[in-house]
Symmetry: C2
Subunit: 219 residues, 2 copies
DNA sequence: CCGCGGGTCAACCTTTTGGTTGATTGGGCC
DNA sequence: GGCCCAATCAACCAAAAGGTTGACCCGCGG
């Protein structure tokens, strides 16, 4: 266990980068060696630091990047070795905890998933865990995943999630039927099931519920 | 004109508060005198500092607060003098630039509206402007407002925005009518107008369009 | 002063959705 | 093999939403 963890910050917000820098500076054994405003810059920084013989121990990465490469893509590329370095652990630090993002990040090879409103101590522990090769999930994130596994009664099937996604784009039953190559009757059946599982009784409320429960992501 | 601007930070994210604190510490003549994690705490801080004879010159306020009083409500209360102080200028500093939030903040009495991805220099200037009693809008925000003014053909009226917001929560026409103390007929009239302006023909598509055009925020 | 547009409401009709019942198929599991 | 469940479809009826026309009031601006 190194007692000087070298960290690369990746976040498009200068304010957040400054905050993390200040926060991590208070911790013994953690050192922010570089920053990047998007995924592309992060890959470049990793390559540069590697060529200088100053490897990075942990990447602290935001998911939502205003412009440029997003965090999931960047994580995937880092883990694929596209930065030309032995892939360092990538710790996701983001604002929202929707299912889609969490699963995508884990699939891309992230070592952990933390929320920005976490207390500093939790972030420090997560960085240390990641550096040690362990995984680190925020309690809220862990709870969400456990809830999915423990209580599948109200979990939407893959097909139903697909329906909700189309629903949120404003499509009519007929349009969804055509898009999915099924009949309107089937669409209606799916919708009834969805309403039941979400505890609502119309399509707009279903969208609101699915968004709130982070089954789909908006924006 | 004081050359030592006393600032109160209001944001629920410790990381962001740390970032702003660090960022503002680099500027001459700006001093962060207190912090609050939500609107209620902000009011309490203002009252406390006032009673200590240490008034606040500018409030830097986030809009989205995980729990507790949100930024718009807090701004309104501060401007109404509920903190027991001569109301200081309130500068909104938030992540998103949707119409609904901007209008609500301005209505509540905010002196400016900045985005968190703004460069530090812009934030410093905005704080100085607010302290001097002037208004400060981020370029993106200004552009959005100008767009509304220049091309009001497809701009929703305040009432219509209100309808869309309720719509996005999944309410039925009847429920919206009750909530707004108007008849269902009026609700339907508004919806027809909204569909026309957004170029859609049903409520779910209206929600999608309004979200995409940042007329409302999702979350 | 008069028009224009926003907000309000009513009546009427058409289309879409919601809710129910029932049925078939195919995959996974004991 | 038998059972359950997701996915598919049909028919039917009730309720909600969509669309149109016409009307009234009010404030703002030419």
């Amino acid at each position: 266990m190194s007692n000087n963890i070298r960290v690369l910050l990746v976040d498009d917000h200068p304010v957040v980068r400054a905050g993390l820098r200040a926060m991590l500076a208070d911790f013994e054994g953690v050192q922010v060696v570089a920053e990047a405003a998007d995924g592309g810059a992060a890959l470049a920084e990793l390559a540069k630091l590697h060529s200088l013989g100053e490897p990075v121990d942990v990447v602290l990465m935001d998911l939502q990047m205003g412009s440029g490469m997003d965090g999931v893509t960047a994580t995937g590329k880092i883990k694929a070795g596209e930065a030309g370095t032995p892939p360092p652990p990538v710790l996701i630090l983001t604002t929202y905890d929707n299912d889609a993002d969490i699963l995508a990040a884990v699939e891309a090879g992230a070592s952990g998933y933390m929320l920005k409103d976490a207390p500093p101590e939790q972030i420090r522990e997560a960085v240390a865990s990641a550096a040690a090769g362990q995984t680190a999930l925020a309690p809220e994130v862990a709870a969400r995943l456990m809830g999915r596994i423990r209580n599948p009664v109200h979990a939407l099937s893959a097909r139903e999630v697909q329906l909700v996604e189309l629903l949120a784009t404003g499509m009519s039953n007929r349009a969804m039927a055509k898009q999915l190559f099924i009949s309107e009757a089937t669409v209606k059946t799916h919708l009834v099931h969805i309403y039941g599982k979400l505890g609502v009784d119309n399509r707009t409320a279903a969208i609101a519920a699915a968004t709130q429960r982070r089954i789909i992501r908006s924006q």
